[in-house]
């Protein structure tokens, strides 16, 4: 193919080849939160939101989104995750709901993106279910808390070690 002018190869997107990586048990935990007015939070925890059960819908949306990660994030590998769960921790003092997602896989690449995607879509679903009450909700602090398995080994978010979260 030497009669073609190659493009400059800098900046070319690649789906990294994980074919040679070891097949290990991998787990990732991600967190985030959504802030709202105290009355919106009360309606959620009282399960009196007009559109339906907010947290149960958000939990299902988060789990289903974990399975869709490789369709959303262009360079993510398709993966057969073996577990996904999403939990909510409402806090009336800060008027937020903390969200935590855990995803597991036995495979050649990590599941950080699946856990982060589950948290993000769970938060977006809470926004959607409550937006007729409160359009100023803010989704923040979406981050990887921990991961285990794979060559890079254990990771724990620095600030998480601080006991800050």
């Amino acid at each position: 193919m030497n009669d073609f002018t190659h493009l400059d190869e800098e900046g070319r997107v690649r789906m990294v080849d994980v074919g040679g990586k070891e097949n290990t048990e991998r787990t990732a935990v991600a967190g985030g939160n959504i802030r709202m007015t105290p009355s919106t939070l009360k309606q959620i925890t009282d399960n009196s939101v007009k559109k339906g059960n907010v947290l149960e819908t958000a939990r299902i949306a988060g789990i289903m989104a974990a399975k869709k990660t490789s369709e959303l994030i262009p360079m993510c590998h398709p993966l057969n995750i073996t577990h996904a769960g999403v939990d909510f921790y409402p806090d009336h003092v800060s008027s937020t709901i903390a969200i935590e997602a855990k995803v597991s896989l036995s495979g050649q690449t990590g599941v950080e993106m699946e856990a982060l995607t589950a948290v993000s879509v769970a938060a977006l679903t809470i926004y959607d279910m409550c937006k007729s009450y409160d359009k100023a909700m803010i989704i923040s602090d979406i981050h990887l808390k921990k991961k285990s398995g794979g060559k890079s080994g254990e990771f724990t978010a620095p600030r998480y070690l601080d006991g800050k979260h």
Copy 2:
């Protein structure tokens, strides 16, 4: 069907009927940001990240995600959006990239969720492209900036009016 015991109807999820809502031009703008180490940010703005062009990939991912919103958010209506765009504003002082998405539609319901989903997936894609350098990146401040069109009319985020953002 009176020989069946109805379930308690509280908390039942519903896709709200928008059939009677007026068909107007609707636009929504959402924002958010992702914080990272200064060196990660420099690699992004220098376009020297090993996996490829981070912001162009994140932009495309955000636009494509806007089109997938009703597949991700359980009670969102499927919509034929007429425009979607995503912009990035890297700031080396705060070591963040601000993300802004705008989505338009001529239809019966708003496009807030489409704009918020575009921002979220663009941020997740930045994380994915850079996670081999920096696993402690944090996605924050995902919120609706403005919307126009529809019965509820104009909305501008209160804090945005403060000039805080």
Copy 3:
């Protein structure tokens, strides 16, 4: 193109052209049921199934499936449905759960398939959530109950008129 041999045109699949059909309000209601052991039904109505809230999960799955109908049924037109809802009517005498889905649209073609798909996927989700207890559950009687709107006008299932259901 007369130098090509045309294939026999019988039996060729077509997505019927609905371009000339009128844009009207259309609604469809579909029903079905799932039969199980009395103890499985009791666990569902007591919300004590190990995998989680069965009916809320099935309701969300049914609504999301209504939005996916044109991806599943090859000749279905993609539609922007304006409403979808799924209801459950457990009956301990017959040890069944009756399922009913209603879907609405303002458009050029009917939403029968969307309502039937919502019922089918809600039933399959009930099966999935309970299959560790009861693999012999049977899904039956999935049928169109009513439709309105469009050229063919009102339809009410004959047996439904019998008061049989």
Copy 4:
């Protein structure tokens, strides 16, 4: 995270962790049927339905739906099925078409839901292709016939053993 009030954990949806389950050859066979008027059945078996070849379209729809199962059923694991097939058994006496789907996998969880989904979507496709002739068709008797592989071992539907089907 002890400064958060945990929600009551009853009824929380979970995607069961199959990470520890053995990797075995698994097969599932599901069945169901669709009842219609004798003249509709005759048009199908004569391949004279205006929209095209009904059974070939339904077969392809069923196979493609088996691949989509984890997108439809919220707690289903994504799986790389190794085989899927759908067969039809028209019966002019009862004016029904019996549908049978078989799905195989080498993996950590069963493929019952994939086989049941293939049968359901094949039946819905038959309905769709013929609904301009016959809106009163009824889909019934969707059930698991057999499964093999995995810890729970062989399952054969009780009524199937009766020779009833």
Copy 5:
């Protein structure tokens, strides 16, 4: 937002805003072909290919792909197409199958991409169904034949006017 450094705006991907475009009847016809060995073509036209009915499967795949166009092509607008059809013209002299797809819409943007996608996926499906016999098949000449509707009006491919195709 003036405290952020804007990126250079050249080369930024946009989903063009079609909100102001007129709502007209639009149709597009695309063509293409696939070349194979004479014996492979004979097996297709004899319907003796081991994997099943090649052309019927390719037709369904093409129609379903037309509906998926906006998921595949990043800047394509989601559209509710009102018609899609795919036809095949086997030619034993040139040992090719010509493929033609027609797609219609009443909307604000054209359906060229939908017709071209239908042709491409129909051709890929023919390849897939026959690849165990003939891995050297070549897909060529995928092009827009005609379009009508919209501001740019009628288009007919120049070479098509030559009577060359």
Copy 6:
């Protein structure tokens, strides 16, 4: 089931059972090209196309399409590909862009279709990004260049060996 009339089994579509095939490293390389006017090609290589960076968008679309292959091609098995890349070779003499895609997998079946799908969708994306300038572009010569792994072993396209491409 002997009281049912079996349909003639000729021509029935099957997803071939790959359960017994060996798990090997598999790679496929596919190629193709798109021809356009010299001025369209110049705009692409100058990155001055109004809609955005054509080749980067096409590259991402091609990689994402490789992951969607089993949703598009009815009898393709779902696969967890471990690598996908797309490259472009613009040639101003012939006024074409050659496209090459490489896909890898460790699994039971080949990835030819994934590589061919990546090339096809990358070409369609180039068409889409430039169609306001040049509606007469032609996509040609989509073919398998090489494959390795699996029972059928190495394949190199005959004409490729000719040094013709």
